[in-house]
């Protein structure tokens, strides 16, 4: 009998203590961020999908269409094509496609690039209704950023 009541006492006390914790939390600053109405800054090191680096001096890409990134990618996401344009000695990039549906954001392509011509974008708000929406034309994205 005595044990029965002592159990009720300790049990009840533990519940009150637990409630005390939640009660205290009521007066603490709010930690929830009301996404999408509010957003937090993401770290500059965040790895979004890849993008071509824009060379500020030449106002174009740094890529030499060597194909290293294409080879390094574990999931065959990257498709590039370089062509010899008239009057130029070296190949010029004419196509850079990324199949983001298969990309695992591993960074192998960025690391393998001999010219540091690839970077990670900061985009994380990605949602769409079709698979094709994630077949990115990276070259076109670069054109849009060009001044």
């Amino acid at each position: 009998m005595k044990q029965y009541f002592s159990e009720i006492y300790t049990g009840g006390k533990s519940l009150v203590e637990g409630l005390g914790v939640t009660f205290k939390a009521l007066f603490q600053p709010i930690v929830t961020v009301q996404y999408p109405r509010e957003e937090i800054d993401i770290t500059p090191n965040y790895r979004g999908h890849i993008d071509l680096v824009l060379d500020p001096e030449k106002n174009t890409f740094l890529c030499i269409s060597c194909g290293m990134c294409e080879k390094a990618c574990p999931s065959d996401c990257i498709k590039i094509k370089g062509e010899k344009l008239e009057g130029e000695k070296k190949k010029t990039l004419v196509l850079f496609e990324l199949d983001f549906t298969k990309c695992s954001l591993c960074g192998a392509c960025v690391e393998s690039c001999p010219k540091d011509a690839l970077e990670f974008s900061q985009e994380y708000n990605l949602a769409a209704f079709s698979r094709e929406a994630f077949h990115f034309d990276i070259l076109k994205r670069l054109e849009e950023r060009r001044t």
């Binding site: 009840g12 637990g18 390094a72 695992s104």
Partner: protein, 370 residues
């Protein structure tokens, strides 16, 4: 267990999962029931099999790195760690000391994050909603810290053969130290909110007792084995990386019930914080990545490497044939063995107790199915 004639005549099968909140993933457990009692629980696996091992055998060993993080997405860095160390052992690559320190710090942070998530999810299984909010609040800090250096929040691909992808900076060190301080204060809250709570104790004490003998028979590892009182931890018993240099304890339970497994994990978080603190204090300067050949050749012969993941012993077994593509890669994951005792353990118990036991095993289904 008392079974009335009516119940005997009306035994039935209940499918728990594959879409069930407390199987934590696509796990199906077929339960033969008599009233509210479970007669025979049989786990059915394979719903999320992705052929990870086969993928490893069909591409250069570097290309398997992103896969390692996708087996156990809750505690991905030890999976990274096991795989890079395996290939380093096979190819004889030396890792700079600073890189090893960074690996240990980040792995331990990931372990804490995994245990915090488990704590919240387990309590959710038992019907307590509040603790998961506290757990997620703390875990979010770890994810932010790790995101800052790895670039991703869960499926990290941070370690590289011969080191790590990116060096850590002062900001990382400071925020990690601040987090350790914060979490120590939060442990007090967890104790008040969960550990001492009478309802929690009643739902876990003396439930699902795994005897040491049974744990060994089924090859259980990690906190589940240590909950049964066997102090086996790969970090101590088969030391790898720089773990022997740190002073930490291996918490064990007494009788192997759900409460013991809970206590082991909670105390393990404290030990992980200790390891991180020591590593931060002694962090050496130097490079974080050794020079490794571009195409790593895996010499003929086999090689094994085991690490302590948050759920137990994770070991990679690799057979090379002289090319850069593994001939065979076998991954031994902890959750699979941990679950295998369920048919024996779950016989004749109440259904709510089965939920409690399942939660206390800390299962990650994508890891079992691979």
């Amino acid at each position: 267990m008392l079974e009335s004639d009516f119940q005997k005549k009306n035994r039935f099968f209940l499918n728990m999962g594959p879409q069930h909140p407390s199987t934590h993933g696509v796990l199906l457990i077929v339960l033969e029931m008599s009233g509210e009692y479970v007669l025979d629980p049989q786990p059915v696996l394979g719903f999320i099999h992705r052929m990870h091992e086969k993928m490893a055998e069909s591409r250069p060993c570097q290309s398997f790195m992103p896969n390692t993080a996708r087996m156990d997405y809750v505690c991905a860095l030890p999976y990274n760690h096991g795989y890079v160390s395996l290939v380093e052992r096979k190819a004889g690559i030396e890792v700079p000391r600073r890189a090893e320190y960074i690996r240990v710090i980040t792995s331990e942070l990931n372990r804490v994050a995994s245990h915090l998530l488990w704590l919240g999810a387990y309590l959710l299984d038992l019907g307590a909603f509040t603790p998961i909010l506290y757990g997620f609040d703390d875990r979010e800090h770890i994810l932010d810290i790790l995101e800052d250096i790895t670039g991703s929040r869960l499926t990290y691909c941070y370690y590289r053969f011969g080191g790590v992808n990116q060096d850590i900076d002062d900001k990382f060190v400071d925020s990690t130290r601040a987090f350790i301080k914060r979490l120590r204060k939060r442990f007090v809250i967890y104790e008040k909110l969960v550990t001492k709570n009478i309802i929690f104790i009643k739902r876990t004490e003396n439930i699902g007792i795994v005897s040491p003998d049974m744990a060994l028979r089924y090859g259980m590892t990690g906190p589940n084995l240590r909950g049964s009182g066997i102090a086996y931890d790969v970090r101590k018993n088969e030391p790898y990386s720089i773990y022997p240099e740190f002073d930490f304890e291996v918490p064990v339970g007494e009788q192997g019930d759900c409460l013991d497994r809970y206590m082991v994990r909670v105390r393990e978080m404290e030990q992980s914080l200790r390891i991180i603190e020591q590593a931060l204090d002694r962090l050496p300067e130097g490079p974080v990545r050794a020079k490794v050949p571009k195409n790593i050749k895996l010499s003929p012969g086999d090689c094994n490497f085991a690490v302590e993941a948050a759920r137990g012993e994770l070991s990679y077994y690799l057979v090379g044939d002289g090319t850069g593509v593994p001939y065979r890669l076998k991954v031994r994951v902890p959750s699979y063995s941990n679950l295998s005792c369920l048919p024996e353990l779950g016989r004749g118990i109440l259904l709510p107790d089965l939920v409690s036991i399942l939660g206390s095993f800390d299962l990650v289904i994508p890891e079992m199915d691979r």
